[in-house]
């Protein structure tokens, strides 16, 4: 039954029920415990494939661009950005929200899907957790620079000082500082705790002492005893429980930055759930984009199967429709409220109906880009063909992240470029520093991500083993030759 499968064919043996409940194997039925270890730990042990270098070198160059842009911005001042009256928030805040949103998939996958016992998360959770940490770091760069004098950023924290200056706790921007910092802290701790058993695996496989010591240091003396596992599982569960509200709270707080103001286009009660749905949407999209690349570069087709990708596209389809609902609801409220400013903002500025003077919005294209990428493109995932086609998924997820960037651009720039008085109208023009910094954060993100992929176990080895056919108590041994007992990596792998 379980024959060698072509790498991208559906590697799911439909005739092997895991249990009477009708679940099916997520990974190829002939996957063995030792294969998982060799595959995942091997990445950190073998020389990097050429594909890795082809990504890493441009990523480092772009990261350098980011530091150059930051250096210029700090010495020249925020005037180096295109922000100006009335568009005081532009690409910087757009990029901030975009990156923070991307970070949300990590916690959703590692915490919420864990609590819901979604076993398919095991192939993507480590990946997504790492992405979360890096994305939040990239996000934090923008508001830190947006303050204009980054060396005074410590004002953001409640530190007793000689000026008696204290953060204004009535300000959502302040809540943001706490939300993002909490999120970063918990994400880092969660990521690290999950890594411990796998770091120990790599430590035990290491042949040279330095490697043993480095991985051993971070493995915190893990020996894999039952007591260790018991504590580990409990800690993991607790962190999942702590992280779960954060998935909802962080982007809700980010949305308050806008929703608590009185700008048409921002002053909307639907913002918190709308932002959270969008965040999960974009996060899943980027996880998938990178997953498809890494899967190809490192040949991980047997760990991340089409079944996983299929489930992820369904998640994106669902969140895309949530976002689409929010878009529609904004227009409905703009009409239903009878508020002329709301109406003007949505029907003139966004969809470009001519106003009474016959003028048309200069930003119509941004709204079109947002809706086509975020609502129309994901509809393709209704079709099974699209959910199984790597090129379609790759292009679609890239477009989704373009669309999600435009969503933030539409919300931020479109809402403020038309002030209440026509004398205070303006258009935003990005400068080279704006563009360089945005591209640069992508490079910075990719650099950290590629280093992670190269030096840390990119899949949760221990958790993957837990969903192998061999780990199922009901597993009928006559199907194929998997080890009888739940063996560690020290047991010899059975021959195929």
């Amino acid at each position: 039954m379980s024959t060698a499968l072509p790498t991208d064919a559906l590697p799911i043996d439909d005739s092997v029920p895991i249990e009477d409940i009708g679940e099916r194997h997520l990974m190829p039925a002939d996957m063995t415990v030792s294969e998982v270890t060799t595959l995942v730990a091997g990445v950190t042990e073998n020389p990097a494939p050429r594909g890795w270098w082809m990504l890493f070198i441009p990523a480092v160059l772009l990261a350098g661009l980011m530091f150059a842009c930051i250096g210029y911005l700090v010495t020249a001042g925020v005037g180096a950005w295109g922000n100006n009256a009335p568009v005081y928030w532009a690409w910087d805040i757009t990029n901030f929200v975009w990156w923070i949103g991307i970070g949300h998939a990590g916690t959703l996958i590692s915490a919420i899907l864990f609590l819901f016992r979604q076993k398919w998360r095991t192939s993507i959770n480590r990946f997504a957790e790492a992405m979360t940490v890096f994305a939040v770091l990239c996000a934090a760069i923008f508001p830190a620079l947006h303050t204009g004098r980054p060396w005074f950023d410590y004002y953001l924290f409640p530190i007793p000082n000689q000026m008696n200056v204290w953060p204004n706790f009535k300000s959502p921007l302040m809540w943001d500082v706490f939300a993002v910092n909490t999120y970063l802290t918990i994400s880092v701790v969660f990521f690290f705790v999950g890594l411990i058993p796998d770091l120990a695996t790599i430590r035990d496989r290491s042949t040279n002492l330095l490697r043993k010591r480095i991985y051993g240091f971070f493995a915190l003396g893990w020996r894999g005893s039952h007591r260790h596992w018991q504590h580990y599982e409990r800690a993991y569960l607790i962190f999942a429980a702590i992280s779960t509200p954060l998935v909802l709270s962080v982007h809700s707080v980010v949305s308050f930055d806008f929703a608590t103001s009185v700008i048409p286009g921002w002053h909307t009660t639907i913002f918190p759930p709308y932002f959270v749905a969008g965040a999960v949407f974009s996060g899943f999209a980027l996880v998938m984009t990178l997953m498809l690349i890494v899967r190809a570069v490192f040949g991980m087709h047997r760990v991340v199967t089409l079944k996983h990708l299929d489930l992820m596209t369904k998640f994106m389809l669902a969140t895309s429709m949530l976002v689409g609902y929010a878009y529609a609801m904004e227009f409905f409220i703009a009409w239903y409220s009878g508020n002329e400013y709301e109406w003007w903002h949505f029907f003139h500025t966004r969809i470009g109906l001519a106003d009474s003077t016959g003028q048309r919005s200069p930003y119509f294209w941004a709204w079109v880009a947002m809706v086509s990428c975020n609502v129309l493109v994901p509809q393709i995932f209704w079709f099974k063909y699209a959910r199984r086609s790597i090129p379609v998924m790759f292009v679609a997820t890239l477009l989704i992240n373009v669309g999600m960037w435009f969503e933030r651009f539409v919300i931020i720039v479109l809402s403020i470029h038309r002030d209440y008085l026509p004398s205070a109208w303006g258009i935003f023009h990005p400068t080279l520093i704006d563009m360089g910094l945005y591209l640069g954060t992508m490079g910075f993100f990719l650099t950290m991500f590629l280093l992670f992929v190269r030096w840390l176990p990119m899949f949760a080895i221990a958790e993957l083993k837990g969903i192998l056919p061999a780990a199922q108590p009901s597993h009928a041994p006559d199907h194929h030759e998997a080890p009888e007992a739940p063996a560690g990596e020290l047991s010899p792998a059975p021959a195929e």
Partner: protein
């Protein structure tokens, strides 16, 4: 195989202690040494003329406003022009060597380059006239000028220090007639009416009170 020596078991303890001690040390250094109390109080630059406030304001008893004449009407307490000095010194001690720079300034019509002692950042709009109208004494912020040969900064002039008084101005108010007095102490008659004055004063504690 043992990859770490046994004594490394102490590492978490040592790291924890190190973070605690280093963190505490950094906090203390910044908290104490970076404060205007440490960095600014005691600033007493050399002046081009060895003018003594102790002699003029203390022993001779000149009123502060004789030289800093506009202080009740202006943001700045002006530094007197050479003409003010020469008003007396073209009669008194006309040949003193220490007054040579003043006479030179008088002849060349170039002001004496006095060095400013009490400095505030550019983003602070401090108004002397408002504070005198509220009857805050000179001595409150400048200390016992009448005892200083060389003027030195007595108070930190930090924002917290400003706000301390803006939040509770009572102890620093005095009768309007006594604003330039260096020795005045509150008496019973004053303590009886100070609360009413404070209530009428209502000093600003919002940002734009001092930063515009």
């Amino acid at each position: 195989m043992q990859i770490f020596p046994r004594k490394l078991n102490l590492l978490p303890l040592v790291l924890g202690a190190a973070v605690f001690i280093a963190g505490g040390a950094v906090t203390f250094v910044v908290w104490y040494y970076f404060s205007p109390k440490n960095l600014q109080v005691g600033y007493a630059p050399d002046q081009p003329v060895p003018y003594s406030h102790r002699l003029h304001a203390g022993e001779l008893g000149l009123d502060c406003r004789y030289c800093h004449a506009n202080v009740e009407r202006s943001y700045e307490a002006m530094v007197p022009p050479t003409q003010t000095c020469m008003g007396c010194h073209n009669i008194v001690r006309t040949d003193s060597a220490r007054l040579e720079p003043v006479r030179q300034s008088w002849q060349t019509n170039q002001p004496v380059a006095w060095v400013r002692v009490h400095k505030l950042p550019d983003h602070v709009f401090f108004d002397h006239s408002v504070h005198l109208a509220a009857s805050v004494g000179c001595v409150t912020c400048h200390g016992r000028i009448d005892q200083m040969d060389v003027v030195r900064q007595e108070q930190p002039l930090s924002m917290a220090w400003c706000l301390d008084c803006h939040r509770d101005p009572g102890p620093n108010l005095r009768p309007p007639a006594e604003i330039t007095s260096m020795q005045w102490e509150p008496d019973e008659a004053w303590t009886a009416q100070v609360d009413a004055r404070v209530a009428a004063l209502n000093p600003p504690i919002h940002c734009s009170g001092c930063h515009r």
